[in-house]
């Protein structure tokens, strides 16, 4: 095994990790804000990928150029999910957490079923994109351009999220996170903040979906595995921590890639779940968790 290969695999893992981190960021943002685990997060990723594929097929618009469009689409979807479903579950006084779990889980089953109905279960892919098939070479290290672009955009997403947290709205988001009942005392409409939080969380996973659609197959089930990794990332990074999601995403991407070097690639996720078990045993609140 040459050092160049190891380096290439490691960088590839880090780039993939950035993408995992963006998926996890959306999940952790919603959880941190209102203690609701969105089990439909993977389905939203899938929806974004199909949206990208559909738009590409019908208009020819390159996935990269679709980023703002699909992000906005998913933002709207997130807000709608909050308004139509989640806001109602918050009114429930008895066993509310269970109701929330079943609601988002049910939504996931519905969305995946809907995708199967509409698109069938065949794999789809976007073959002719601006980035597709191109590579970027640094000496002996050769990286697929879609993956590099995905890493760069993912970093920009995190930059935007960190910037957002410093704005006045970000402070209100943080305040809502700390005490969602007390924000009414300062005239803040909790439902509006929650709705926007869901919008941002869904937009993040929407961006991840567009990036992924550039180089990954698209199927109704595609979100499941990414969501699973995102749950691990959220647990590792700490529930509710955006920085935690970033670090955890990177750790997971790198672990996955390096595991694939030493064991059969089909078992590459073993390393991730070993990390997950270790977190559960030794640091249940995660690296940056506030629980």
């Amino acid at each position: 095994m040459s050092p160049a290969l190891i380096l290439q695999v490691a960088i590839g893992g880090i780039l993939m990790g950035l993408l995992y981190a963006v998926v996890a960021a959306g999940l952790t943002l919603i959880f941190g804000l209102m203690n609701v685990v969105n089990f439909a997060h993977g389905a939203l990723l899938m929806a974004a990928m199909y949206a990208t594929w559909l738009i590409h097929r019908s208009t020819g618009l390159d996935p990269l150029l679709q980023l703002p469009l699909v992000a906005a689409l998913l933002f709207g979807t997130g807000v709608a999910i909050y308004r139509v479903l989640i806001a109602r579950t918050l009114q429930i006084r008895v066993n509310g957490a269970m109701v929330q779990i079943f609601t988002t889980f049910g939504l996931s089953i519905f969305l995946v079923g809907l995708a199967q109905l509409v698109f069938g279960s065949d794999f789809q892919s976007i073959n002719a994109s601006f980035l597709g098939g191109r590579t970027l070479a640094f000496g002996a290290v050769v990286l697929p351009l879609p993956l590099v672009a995905s890493g760069v955009v993912s970093l920009l997403v995190f930059l935007a999220l960190f910037r957002l947290s410093r704005t006045e709205f970000g402070r209100a988001l943080e305040a809502t996170r700390e005490d969602f009942e007390a924000v009414a005392l300062i005239g803040v409409d909790r439902d509006r903040i929650f709705g926007i939080g869901w919008g941002i969380g869904a937009a993040a996973v929407g961006i991840a979906g567009v990036l992924l659609a550039n180089f990954y197959y698209i199927s109704p089930d595609v979100g499941t595995n990414f969501a699973l990794i995102a749950y691990v990332a959220v647990a590792l990074g700490g529930f509710g921590s955006i920085l935690g999601a970033l670090i955890a995403g990177l750790v997971i991407g790198l672990t996955e890639a390096l595991t694939a070097l030493v064991v059969d690639p089909s078992l590459k996720q073993i390393g991730i779940f070993l990390i997950y078990l270790a977190v559960l045993m030794f640091r249940p609140r995660g690296l940056f968790g506030k629980l």
Binding site: A172, E174, E181, A184, L185, G187
Partner: protein, 245 residues
Amino acid sequence: MPISETAIAADRPLLSTRHLRAYYRGLVALHGIDLDVGAGEIVAVVGANGAGKSTLLRAIAGQVARSGEIMFDGIALANLPAYRICRLGIALVPEGRRLFPRLSVEDNLRLGAYARRGPERFRPLELVFELFPRLQERLTQRAELLSGGEQQMLAIGRALMTSPRLLMLDEPSQGLMPRLVDDIFAAITQIRARGVTVLIVEQRLAEALAIADRAYVVQTGRIVLQGSAREIAENAEVRRAYLGM
């Protein structure tokens, strides 16, 4: 201040409740409260523990289920959510303060003006720092690291940042050292002097009645007595029967 100067304009008090009932965990906690607060007054609500004083403030602020009539400057509040009531100019400093513990003092204060718009919205900061200079020294500190007294100051400061016309305080002296209690009550008088009407719920009868113009005595969810603060303070029967003094 003599009562005549602050008596409610007979036609329209700033805040009035009629037949206000409130419900707490399915039980009726207030049984038809009629209360008036005139602009510029300090009105105290006193009574024993569990009498329903806090519930009264929470009902006005829209934080508990309630029925009956609540009018604030001609606007009916009974069907409005809590955040809208705050935007209309009613600020509640709740029991337990409910600060945002991991946010800095400055963030807590600035968030008070979050729902306000316009260039003037941070202007109450001047008043807050004038009343509580200590907050200015602690701007970057997390709210959770403040002492109990400082937290109370911050809670009042945050409420003032919403530019309220009516400030409602729920047991502002709770858990504070006597010296700090005096500071808080002095601040409340100054806040009124700036034109903010005050409705205060307090266990410390003497201090509350000393700064109030009028008072209501609440017992098991009903108003059993009302009058000028001096009358209430001097009423021996009240002291014995309702306030355990």
